[in-house]
């Protein structure tokens, strides 16, 4: 029995270390002994780092309600019970899993190597051309997983370049999305403040000093994955935040050539996205964010909204032309 426990612990540590090495960004440490968790609500912002990791490895996020109460919740990114709409199983699913058979380098480092991408013709046993045909509009979904002129490889390749340019890895981008997803699944638990019996409405999360708002809407049925995996999607998720005066100032200074309409478009692209939870799993597992569809959480947008990079960094990573970056389809295959 003891031996079994040791073996289990060994594999647990190995897998934990593997995922840890896939992150570029480290979370600030937090002493959780002084913290009180939901359903306890603070009347004022505790002004402590969020996200933060406790000494036991739990990842904490600070939430804000509509009536200005604050609560700590556990949003730890981890593998959990199965998540499968078809079987009505609503566990965390495989949040740390990375496709190691087709992308061994990616599974180890969290970023693809160009060589690995050049040599990819199959993902999860399906040819990349089949995934592309299924993923284009009016394939397995009406809006598609990529635009008509994009391929699965051209999209993964382009996004990999961008994420690399931002100095991040794909798990770095997936983590805040999973944090959001994990805590949002617990909202119903805390519907009412236990003491005042007041109805609660979580309105935003505090993340790297930014107040991030969101809207979640379910839908009937589910969307099947284009890969040969268990991932399904059902929800409509919108996430956004207001850009700070400094960020706006930077944009105004560097994008003065844009028309008012174009500038507003750029501002929205940097501060707002609509997606579905299946993409969170896709990002961590394959480094796939969807192509230019209405469900794409662009890595630059996610990184800016969640404060993983500054707008200045994003501007630099996108060859000093964010407007062009957001409006150009990914059509170059890694050959």
């Amino acid at each position: 029995m003891k031996k079994l426990t040791i073996i289990f612990l060994y594999f647990f540590l190995i897998s934990a270390c593997n995922q840890a090495s896939r992150y570029q960004k480290r979370l600030p440490k937090s002493d959780s002994s002084n913290l009180k968790f939901a359903p306890y609500f603070y009347a004022e912002n505790p002004n402590l780092p969020s996200p933060a990791v406790t000494e036991t490895g739990r990842e904490l996020i600070l939430l804000k309600t509509k009536n200005n109460l604050f609560a700590w919740m556990d949003g730890t990114v981890e593998n959990g019970e199965p998540f499968n709409y078809k079987k009505r199983l609503y566990g965390k699913g495989n949040q740390l899993m990375a496709e190691d058979k087709d992308f061994p380098y990616f599974a180890k480092t969290g970023i693809h190597s160009d060589n690995e991408l050049r040599e990819t013709k199959l993902i999860t046993g399906r040819s990349v051309s089949q995934i592309t045909v299924d993923g284009r509009p009016w394939g397995s979904s009406g809006v598609g997983f990529m635009a008509e002129d994009e391929t699965i490889m051209s999209v993964i390749y382009a996004d990999n370049q961008t994420v690399k340019g931002l100095g991040l890895t794909h798990p770095d981008i997936a983590r805040p999305l999973f944090h959001f997803w994990n805590i949002s699944r617990d909202f119903e638990k805390y519907e009412v403040v236990s003491i005042t019996k007041e109805r609660l409405e979580f309105e935003s999360l505090i993340y790297n000093g930014n107040e991030i708002k969101f809207k979640i809407q379910g839908s009937r049925g589910w969307q099947e994955s284009i890969f040969n995996d268990e991932i399904l999607g059902s929800g409509h998720i919108e996430i956004w935040r207001e850009l700070s005066p400094e960020e706006l100032e930077f944009l105004k200074k560097n994008y003065s050539q844009l028309t008012i309409e174009q500038f507003e478009q750029l501002q929205k692209k940097l501060s707002h996205f609509h997606t579905s939870e299946m993409v969170f799993f896709y990002i961590n597992r394959y480094g796939f964010y969807e192509g230019h569809t209405e469900y794409r959480p662009d890595p630059v947008t996610v990184a800016v909204i969640f404060g993983l990079v500054t707008i200045k960094d994003a501007h630099r990573a996108c060859r000093s032309d964010l407007y062009n970056y957001f409006n150009t389809h990914f059509t170059k295959n890694p050959e």
Partner: protein, 309 residues
């Protein structure tokens, strides 16, 4: 001895009578609940389905009772559809052909008629198929025609294949192939060129497994000038998955097609063959001037090497 058997008979007769009375009481109570049931209707429908035939007369009364809401009549129809009863067959036909009846209920009644021999009402079914008010339910009537008159069913699915898309078109294709297997190649060749994803996927799967495979037909579609890359991709996918040695030269040619979709699928298809079957062709293209050809060839060679060890 005779007296003993008389008493035993009487005992069983009483038992059966009591059981029948109890069952009737249960049926009456459950059917009554269905008259006002909401979302929980399955709690009453499932025991009635289990009881089966004895529940049919009372359920038919519910289904025909116009004083009930459409929903409560509908759940009675749906319960009856799960009990295969000739009494319900007659009542369902009456409901289906009654033009004054609610079209939604008439449509629901079709599910209870599937599989029954309906040859005696084939003309009425065909008339109904062509009824304007019944436009949205055509596919269900076409299914009933399968056990009424296969020629009429063919005619119906032929029309549905040409007028519907998505699931409707896919179902029509499936039935056309089953009704006239000798025509399947023509239908599949047509479907593989169609716009609908579901139907063309069915055509691809059917062609992969078809015993009457028409290589020349597919090749001529592939070589049609101006043929779009998605259709060409489907054809390569079919050849790759049939794994027939005769298709190797064609796959090698497709490997050099400018379209990424096509040449990538050809590379994947070539990997399903034995090394010695494709090695010569691959070596000949190893130093091709086009980078995408070299990339594909190198990948195929790498895969073949992997399989060898």
């Amino acid at each position: 001895m005779r007296r003993f058997f008389s008493i035993l008979f009487l005992f069983f007769w009483v038992q059966i009578h009591v059981f029948a009375q109890n069952q009737q009481a249960e049926v009456d109570s459950l059917v009554r609940m269905l008259r006002t049931a909401g979302r929980e209707w399955n709690d009453y429908a499932n025991p009635l389905i289990k009881i089966g035939e004895p529940a049919v007369p009372e359920l038919i009364k519910n289904a025909e009772d116009k004083s009930l809401s459409q929903w409560n009549r509908r759940i009675s129809v749906m319960t009856l559809n799960n009990i295969r009863s000739s009494r319900w067959k007659e009542a369902a036909l009456k409901m289906l052909f009654n033009k004054n009846e609610d079209p939604i209920l008439r449509n629901h009644a079709t599910a209870g008629l599937r599989g029954w021999n309906l040859s005696d009402v084939k003309d009425e079914l065909w008339e109904l198929y062509n009824e304007k008010d019944f436009e949205s339910y055509k596919s269900n009537i076409a299914h009933l025609l399968l056990t009424a008159d296969t020629a009429l069913a063919y005619k119906a699915f032929h029309e549905l294949y040409q007028t519907q898309d998505g699931y409707g078109q896919r179902i029509a294709l499936q039935n056309l192939i089953q009704l006239r297997p000798e025509e399947s190649t023509t239908w599949l060749l047509d479907a593989i060129q169609g716009e609908d994803w579901m139907t063309s996927n069915l055509a691809m799967d059917s062609l992969i497994n078809s015993l009457h495979f028409n290589t020349n037909g597919l090749l001529s579609v592939y070589n049609n000038p101006g043929m779009n890359e998605k259709v060409q991709w489907r054809i390569i996918y079919v050849f790759g998955h049939r794994k027939e040695v005769e298709s190797i030269p064609f796959l090698v040619q497709a490997l050099q097609n400018e379209s990424w979709l096509v040449n990538t699928e050809a590379a994947v298809g070539l990997c399903s063959f034995e090394k010695e079957q494709v090695l010569k062709e691959m070596k000949a293209l190893k130093n091709d001037s086009r980078p995408f050809v070299r990339n594909n060839v190198n990948w195929v060679l790498k895969q073949l090497k992997k399989d060898l060890f």
